[in-house]
Symmetry: C2
Subunit: 247 residues, 2 copies
């Protein structure tokens, strides 16, 4: 039995149940899922400063997962907050929702468009596209004009807006693949694929399946992210690793 | 039960058994594997012209897989021969060994190096790296000076050469991840990961796990490559689709 932890790096339980439902619909029977959220901090990560505020408890959960024998961990936000930091402190695969989803998108069609809630999100997300090496695969960003709290409040309007912007991305921007750029846009992937006619990637679904794949590869052949160079762990003797790191 | 077909696009059964063994070591219990080879044609694909010669029977197997209810198909050569053509004629996920392995590599470390048999292979494979959008993630190519037939004849010497070139890629070229650039370099991933200390990706293992992931996503949420635009199927009425396509 493999175990994977999905962390909602926000101080609210509002996403736990819908995300658990989405994962349960697609997960392998032999993989156990746990979804957690933070005990405090901002309830969304639309601001970089909020990422900073939520980073410590997120990383604590990442380390907790490794200590508890989890086979992989997912950081559940399309900004991929704390991805590098997390990989420095654990050996189990750490999956960035955006990184995993974009790479899968790149194998399903010529170019992808990312549907974001607000224009505010684009600069960091576009930077991540280039950071992940996928600049040439990006057709466009499309904006819903929904904050994360609005997404939670108005799921039907959200779905309509996603369908409308996804269509425009296909028809006007040359997208062959649609990436939903927020875990708040999750839960209606199959329905939207049928409506749009091109692949539509729910980042919760795709990052979950990617995590299953990496968890399996880690268990079976010890494959995980490189622990030398970029993700080298801070030396214990420098004394900056917190107590929870030592458990 | 999911079923995945692994096609060795070469006119020899020499790879079937070792590849089946490699897959059996890592595959999910609930996924069925079948490995096939071509009835005729070149026994390796070191020449582009050989790809051309082997293309038709390869595509026939791809279509056969869809007709027989397979959930995904892998084209087992690191040149990814016929990937676009195959995606045009079927809806089931078609996995290119190189495409899948390189994208996974990109999520495991800063840059990857590809270990090829001969310098002859580099131009097409480097072109593929850029085609897949991953030019900025490429540290280097490293050359073993092994033809494919030599790989089959001298597996121990091959392993030594891979370890030696992989080390140089890490130490001299800035690679954090090693990609074995031929299905002939398969079967010793776990051993090499322990020796080199960075992730080493066996293209058979990784493309198999990637295929499991996509097979699952296709079955559960109908996700597959985009069938519009780049992979649009030729119209039946033009009459160029062969008889085996119609089964």
């Amino acid at each position: 039995m493999l175990k994977i932890l999905f962390i909602n790096p926000v101080g609210t339980d509002a996403f736990d149940e819908p995300i658990l439902k989405t994962i349960n619909d697609v997960k392998r029977a032999d993989v156990e899922v746990k979804v957690v959220h933070l005990s405090k901090g901002p309830i969304h990560l639309e601001y970089h400063y909020y990422e900073h505020l939520n980073m410590e408890e997120t990383l604590k959960w990442v380390k907790w997962a490794e200590n508890e024998g989890y086979n992989a961990v997912i950081i559940g936000c399309f900004y991929d907050p704390g991805l590098r930091e997390a990989r420095e402190i654990v050996s189990i695969p750490v999956i960035g929702v955006a990184e995993a989803t974009m790479h899968v998108a790149a194998t399903l069609g010529h170019k992808f468009s990312i549907i974001v809630g607000r224009r505010k999100w684009i600069p960091k997300m576009e930077s991540n596209v280039y950071l992940y090496g996928l600049g040439s695969k990006l057709a466009s960003f499309r904006i819903l004009n929904f904050t994360v709290p609005m997404m939670l409040r108005e799921p039907e309007k959200l779905k309509e807006a996603v369908i409308s912007e996804a269509r425009k991305a296909v028809e006007e921007d040359g997208a062959e693949v649609i990436v939903l750029g927020c875990t708040g846009e999750s839960g209606f992937m199959k329905e939207i694929i049928e409506k749009i006619g091109v692949p539509v990637l729910d980042p919760v679904v795709v990052s979950w399946k990617y995590a299953e794949m990496l968890a399996d590869l880690y268990q079976k052949v010890k494959l995980t992210h490189c622990k030398m160079f970029g993700y080298e762990s801070p030396p214990r003797e420098e004394g900056y690793l917190p107590k929870w790191e030592h458990r």
